[in-house]
Amino acid sequence: MSGCGECNGCNPKPPGPGARKEYVVALAGNANVGKSATFNQLTGVDQEIGNWPGKTVERAEGLLQYRGQRIRVIDLPGIYSITALSTEEQVSREFIAHDHPDVVVNVVDASALERNLFFTLQLAELESPMILAVNQMDLAAQKGISIDFSKLSSLLGVPVIPTVAIQGKGMTELSDAIITAVGTRPSPHVVLYGREVEERIRKTMTLLHEDAGDYPARWIAIKLLEGDPDTVWETKKQAPEAVTAARAFAVELEKIHGEPAGTILSGERYHAAERMVAEVVKYRMPGLHEVSMTDRIDRLALHPVLGYLLLILTIGGLLVWTFIIGAWISGTLLGYLSLAAPVEPLITGSVTDIVFNGAWTGFVAALTLIIPYVIPFYLFLALIEDSGFLTRFSLMLDQGMHKMGLHGKAIIPLVLGFGCTVPACLSCRIIESPKQKFLAAFLVTLVPCSARTIVILGVVAAFVNIWWALALYVFDFILIVILGRIAFRVLPGESVGMIMEMPDYHVPSVPVVIGQTWQRTKSLIWIVLPSYIIGSIVITALYALGFLEPINALLSPVTVLLLGLPVMTGIVFVFGIIRKEMTILALAAIFGTTIFSTIMTPVQLIVFALVTMLYVPCISTILALVQEFGWKRALGITVLETVLAIITGALAFRALSLVM
């Protein structure tokens, strides 16, 4: 099939100087092998993070400019197999087959070569030009693992480059290899499986038509044997006899082995990977690493009592750190910015003044109220994440998450939600099943983000007492659990249990932590800042034009009759749609005071904070939800939460009036 895999080095056709073509390189590999670090090293900061068309799977794209060549680098999702059981796997295999990247760089973990080569062999079946980047060589060396790269290269038929991506080691060699490979197109060898399997692959291949579409014939034959639904469906149209024959062959194989054909082939690939590893990997000091650093830390982090203690301290520490550092940065920034222009959300005057003021207020509010809180938060979280602790927390909380139909991995979006809901919603992409993804996003919108925390602290903790503020928090958590349980039952689809790799602990790498923080902050700036500014302009304009009084009147049945709040809070809640902490600004501006206890009773303050906490997710969140789940579901969540806020607010008003 792939003609001369042997002589990939003998006929290099480096692209001529006149070539203006943009090449495409795809990075593929397991999760946790340093694929993102490699991607960052190759492309620098200039990256685009979006979704794969029609799928809520993250797609990162960047540009590598090297030796006068422009190379688009696509970071494929981190997956363990290409059996198309998950959307990530489907996206990856379709990209390689349909978009024909010039080279696929397979990043593998040097310490776990066997498991990684399993994936390499699957990639090789797609017969795309390939380079193997053996990453995390430093860790492998520490574990006493040495690898014969030239032998591995000759076994696979593709260039093999050792790298330490987080330190940038091997990146020049990798870039060179990519540049050479776009010309030579090194095609991987066909790795032969067991005789009874090979025989049936060959027989199936003879039944396939020459021009079978994007996928190679051997790949199609293997997928037909595995009973892959997509391939069966595609091939049925052109070569139904191949499908029937492959099914019969699969049954024969199943009879020999007593397991499904799909797992037989996986077994074959693992056998091939084992053979390669036996030839190229040497272990020094076997058995010396019985009690590693990771094991020692795990004894604490996964301890039934100390582990949970550590978890509570870490998450608590994260929040305390965020609000102490955040308040300081916010205060300093606001001081400087208010020197430039007044920051009062409501004014009267000419239209240009109003528009400018609206834009300026929105900009300042975004800059002083989101960024200062969110950056320290993401920084700390990225540290926990990169060091390996977050994986352990996922493990410890897995069983608890089951109560809400989620699993341990959902801890990441839920914790992110304490910072800002927008990146938290986007991070729900890491969850595999569509049902659990949506469920997690729904619950994330209820997690008190930094904006809501500011309202709770600024209204309730400051003017009622800290215990009522904490009570609101506790109430919110209870609500999340209850709603999670209900939604889990009501939503269609199934919940899938977690299978997660446990990476070793390591000292967090500065570029990775900063990169992660920047990615999250960037997604926030792109969505939050514009909606903040535009929203602020619209609302100040509406107010100046006198439209807000009718709105107050319109909302008064809810605000006054149901919630027992002053009539002016109608506008305030409208402001809060842009961003929750705008409610405080609006409240101050409308009543002309920042001592809220003079304008509302303690009961009113609590009800006000409660409703602010629960009603309509802010406009940025709604946009993020639309992007991830479509209009219908975003609207569903919005309506549901508004109704919920009104009901709980009305009940709280009546109940609290009796006791306070």
């Binding site: 099914r247 049954v251 082995h257 019985e290 493990l395 069983q399 299978i499 446990m502």
Partner: protein, 238 residues
């Protein structure tokens, strides 16, 4: 002693042994609601037949033969409970007693048919793990897939669920229960048949189990791990 009564004793001893290590006469008497004197007599008979090791005043432990027998009956008992609960919707308080009466008369064929119809359940309605069957198969597709040939023969080695391994214990994958998507997912991560694994630890509160396989560590949801059966190598590391 009637075979029915014998099986009931073996089941009780298995339960008590799992909790206390050794089944004391008094504990068995309490569990089976009979007089201690009848227990002593029954244990003597079971010992004579080679099902238990019996030490007067100390208690009884199952022999290999007895354990296999007890496991088989337990499996049938729990399968029947799932059937009574999920299919017939018998009231919760009655299913245990019903299953106790039915388990002794269930044939191998009916047991298999029941397992197939219930799609190889992992746990009984009370949450106890259902043992693997003793057919010579490596996954359930051999039974569940209509095109697949009927498996023949029975297993020689005893399978134990991966969740009941001790930390540090090594074992080999022998059977993965459940539909093919679960099997495929685990196989792709390196849990292929006869692969050696090492049990690392269980997370607290029935959380995921952590196992080492092919130089990597995997945390697997407890409910998924319930489907993985192994043959223990017996070695303890570290």
């Amino acid at each position: 002693m009637a075979s029915e009564q014998l099986e009931e004793y073996l089941e009780s001893i298995l339960d008590i042994e799992e909790m206390d290590g050794i089944a004391k006469t008094s504990a068995i008497a309490k569990c089976m609601k009979v007089a201690p004197a009848s227990v002593t007599e029954a244990l003597q008979t079971l010992a004579d037949k080679g099902y238990v090791h019996y030490q007067p005043y100390k208690g009884a432990t199952l022999t290999g033969l007895g354990r296999e027998m007890a496991r088989k009956v337990k499996r049938r008992h729990r399968l029947l409970e799932v059937f009574l609960n999920d299919v017939l919707h018998i009231s919760q308080e009655n299913i245990h007693d019903e299953a106790c009466r039915m388990e002794h008369t269930l044939s191998e064929e009916t047991e298999c048919a029941l397992c197939k119809m219930l799609k190889a359940p992992a746990r009984c309605p009370h949450g106890s793990l259902i043992e693997a069957c003793d057919r010579q198969v490596e996954s359930c597709s051999a039974c569940l897939d209509e095109n697949a040939p009927d498996p023949s023969g029975t297993r020689d080695e005893t399978l134990i669920p991966v969740t009941s391994l001790a930390p540090g214990q090594k074992a080999k994958i022998a059977f993965i229960r459940g539909d093919s998507s679960v099997v495929q997912r685990l196989t792709d991560l390196g849990l292929t048949m006869r692969t050696e694994i090492q049990f690392v630890r269980k997370a607290p509160l029935l959380g995921p189990v952590e196992i080492a396989v092919r130089k990597t560590r995997l945390a697997i949801d407890h409910a998924i791990a319930d489907h993985i059966f192994v043959t223990a190598s017996g070695e303890q590391a570290g």
